[in-house]
Each structure stands twice: as C-alpha cells, then as structure tokens.
C-alpha cells in the first residue's frame, strides 16, 4: 500500500495529461465527424471524393505513424508545431474520420418516411435535420460512439512518441525506477475507473434517449 501511495503523485500528473488529451480530442473530433459525414452524404461529387480519400488515409494508417508524421514530418515543409498541438491535431483528424463513418451510418439508417413526414408538416431541410433526423441519429450511434470513446482513452498512451508524459508513461517510469510492477497495476486501475465513468455517462444518455421508442 505504501508503494501505491508513493507513485500516486506522478501517476496523477500523468492522468491529468491523459484526460486533457482525451477531452480536447473528443470535443473537437465529434463536430468534425458530423461535418465530414454530412459532406460524405451530400451530392457534391468533388467534395465527397476528397472526404473519402481523407477517411481512407486516416483509417488506413496507424495513428502512431500519423503523430510521427505531423510532428517530425511537417517541419520539412515549414510547418513546425509544438508537441501538444501536433498530438491534438493528429488525434482529432484521426478520430474525426472514425466518427464520420459512425455518423454517416446513423444518418443513412433513418427511414425515408421521416423526411417525407417532415415535409408534409412544413419543416425546411435544416429544421428537418435538427429536429427530426439528428435526435434519432444520436440515439442510434450512441453505442458505437461509446466504443470509440473508450478506445480513445487508451490510445492517448501513444503520445509517448513525441515525449509527452501521460498515465502509462508515468507508470513505466516508476516501474523502471523502483523495479516493481505496482505502478503498472495502479495505472490499470486508473484506466478502469476512467472507462467505468464513461460507460456510466453513456448509459445515462442511452436511457435519456430511450423515449423515442
């Protein structure tokens, strides 16, 4: 128990970074995902192909490689970002692509009758999307979004490659220093608590949206 207590300060410091990366990525990549999904579903051919290419590249290459490329590769063409900015950009555009596909499947799963009904009621396309389509989409995409969000918590560990400290790195440092596995076990517990909270939050949302049934 004393060992756990000793490593807590450095692990908590790492945890704060993990949460920071997590919250920023989530709050920026979900809007990006919605916009991307709408473009993908739109009839503008040029834009749609660009978006497809973006999704293909982001899902087709490892996130680790994307981080390395944005931090170490972009300075070659004169774009020099600091460590944290580079990492956030990499995470946001990567997760944006995954969220885009989730939202696209959600939006296109809504029955055509919903659009027709909205038109009969005299709603314009923007009202239709905001009032009718989006709430039903949110309800349907909640489980896959929860999945993606939990994966994100664990993916934050990848930032080690540009030297940013986070929970897992802090645990590895303590484990190397003290030559024990206790810091790693402590970190595992912290990850579990974090994902338990997220599962709870998403569970609440699912209940809240259950009335549409």
């Amino acid at each position: 128990m004393q060992d756990v207590y000793n490593v807590l300060p450095s692990l908590l410091e790492g945890l704060i970074n993990t949460i920071k990366i997590f919250l920023l990525t989530l709050s920026l990549s979900i809007p990006l995902g919605i916009i991307t999904a709408l473009i993908r579903l739109s009839s503008k051919k040029g834009l749609e192909i660009t978006v497809r290419l973006y999704i293909w590249i982001m899902r087709g290459t490892p996130l680790l490689l994307q981080i390395v490329f944005i931090y170490f590769g972009l300075p070659i063409i004169g774009v020099s970002l600091n460590r944290f900015t580079a990492v956030i950009i990499a995470f946001v555009i990567n997760y944006g692509a995954y969220f885009a596909e989730i939202f696209r499947s959600g939006i296109s799963s809504i029955d055509k009758g919903q659009y027709e009904g909205a038109r009969v009621l005299g709603l314009n396309p923007i009202q239709t999307f905001r009032r009718i389509i989006l709430p039903q989409t949110v309800k349907r995409v909640l489980p896959p979004v929860a999945n993606e969000t939990i994966t994100l918590v664990k993916d934050t560990a990848l930032v080690y490659v540009v030297g940013i400290g986070e929970l897992l790195r802090a645990a590895k440092i303590a484990s190397n220093r003290d030559a024990t596995l206790i810091p790693l076990v402590t970190a595992a517990l912290m990850y579990l608590i974090l994902t338990a909270i997220l599962s709870k939050v998403f569970g609440r949302y699912e209940e809240k949206y259950a009335y549409y049934r």
């Binding site: 000793n6 490593v7 300060p9 450095s10 410091e13 920071k20 919250l23 920023l24 709050s27 920026l28 390395v68 170490f72 300075p75 004169g78 020099s80 970002l81 600091n82 944290f84 900015t85 956030i88 080690y160 490659v161 540009v162 030297g163 940013i164 400290g165 790195r169 802090a170 590895k172 440092i173 303590a174 484990s175 190397n176 220093r177 003290d178 030559a179 596995l181």
Partner: protein
C-alpha cells in the same frame, strides 16, 4: 448554465493549444551563437532511464547525467531545459532542432557517429553477464544452450551479436529481447531466462534495487564501451566548448561528488 461552463472551458483549452505554435527554427549551420544569445539549452533524454535520467516520486527529472549536465551548463552560463523524448526518436529530435543535445547514457558507436558528433567519453562501461546467484555461469562459454536476454535496440544486443558462433549456440539460436531492462531482470528472476546481458551501470542499479544477494555478475564480459554526449554535426564550436567544460568537470571535486552520490564511487573518466 453547466453546459455553457463546459463549452467555455473546452474553448479555453483549445485556444491554449493553438496559441502554443512555435516559430520555425533555423537548423542549418552552427547554432552555438543562437544558443548563447537565447541563454538556454534544450537537452533531450529518455525519462525512463534510471539511474542516468528518470523521474523521482514527485515527478521531477533527476539522475547522474542530469546532475552532471546542470553543473556543466552552469559553468557555461546557460539555463538547462530538460525535454523528455522517445529514445527511438532521439537522432530525429536532435537533427530537426527540437533538442540541442542528447545526454542520457548515450553509448558511442560507429553507427551513431555517422548521424551525430560525440564529445569525449565521460564514463566507461562494460556489457556484463548477470545470472542468478547459484547458476555457475562465469564465462561467455558457459552460455551455450542457455537462454540469454537483453534490451531491444540497446548496445548490449550489438555486443552479443559480435560473437555470432556463441549466439548460434544459445538456446533458441538468438538473444531474447525485451522492451526494457526491468522486464529482462524480472524474467531472469522468474527463471525463464538463464542470463541477462546489460550495461554494467544499469545492471548495478537494478541489482541494488532487486536485492544484491540474488544475483551474480560474471567475471568475463561482452566488451567495453563508453558513454558520450551527442550533438548535431554542424555544431562544431559548441562541441569544442562542451568538451573543455567536461574535461574541467571530470577533474573537479564537484564531478567526483556527483559520481559518488549516484554510484558510491568515482567512475568518471
């Protein structure tokens, strides 16, 4: 109200991210005059690498190399900034100008000399064979048909591979490589490998942490090597300055004091 607060908070955080964009650094030519002008130097190190550079309980970066660097750059009137990096990215970080030097138990090898320029060596090191106390392994020859472990990408693996005939006589025909030395030592204690080959300095640190009575260090080793400080090839003036500061430090009482603090004896050279 709560929603507005959350949104405001997130906005502020994202503003912080983009406000932090750095200016593009000029990396061509000797950068020592720039370094002197701005008054600080950025040292890259792997903050998992005890006892040379690592984090203590409260998260501060400490270690033998860190103490030595503080002293050296104090003499050169430069403020020292420590930048943790991923060890596999060290030369990329250096040559892209994110850090000014690598100082973290950095073994001088021919391969690395093509990418960076090294200062004079400041520490001698051996690749030693560590076994459990009663193994009876005291020479390289005794490693025949045994399982031998080392850290991935370390100079220990290179040292082992200098003896190809011996390597092919190992159980499995090649060394077993682990991500960290810590894991190699845990496997040794669990009895799944028979010997670990590691830097003597690191090995002594782990042995003292895990219990001296459990291990034996063989008399014969896999060769000698030296630690140096890595700089960009262009920084010739910086190299000259750092070498003379380092020479001064090695002879001084302060340098010997730092060595005794971390290793119990003066092993600077």
């Amino acid at each position: 109200m709560k929603k507005i607060l959350v949104i405001a908070l997130l906005l502020m955080m994202s503003l912080g991210v983009f406000a932090g964009c750095e200016n593009n650094k000029e990396t061509s030519g000797d950068s020592f005059s720039d370094i002197k002008e701005r008054g600080y130097i950025v040292m890259g190190l792997d903050d998992t690498f005890a006892p040379m550079g690592f984090r203590d309980d409260s998260g501060d970066i400490v270690g033998f190399d860190v103490d030595l660097a503080k002293e050296a750059f104090g003499k050169m009137d430069l403020e020292l900034k420590l930048q943790p990096i991923d060890w596999s990215m060290k030369e990329t970080e250096l040559n892209s100008g994110n850090i000014d030097l690598i100082w973290n138990g950095y073994t001088i090898t021919e391969e690395r000399q093509e990418k960076v320029s090294f200062t004079n060596p400041y520490l001698a090191n051996r690749q030693v064979i560590i076994t459990l106390k009663d193994s009876g392994i005291n020479s390289k020859k005794k490693l025949e048909d045994k399982k031998v472990a080392a850290q991935m990408g370390s100079s220990s693996v290179d040292a082992i591979n200098n003896f190809p005939d011996l390597v092919s006589s190992f159980d499995g025909g090649e060394p077993i490589v682990f991500d960290t030395n810590n894991e190699a030592f845990m496997d040794l204690e669990a009895g799944r490998v028979d010997a670990v080959v590691a830097d003597e300095i690191l090995a002594r640190y782990y042995i003292s942490k895990r219990g001296k009575e459990k291990f034996n260090v063989a008399d014969e080793d896999f060769g000698k090597e030296e630690y140096g400080i890595g700089l960009r090839k262009e920084d010739k003036e910086f190299l000259k300055e750092l070498n003379s500061t380092l020479d001064e430090l090695k002879k001084s009482n302060k340098g010997q004091e730092i060595s005794r603090k971390w290793f119990g004896e003066n092993i600077l050279r």
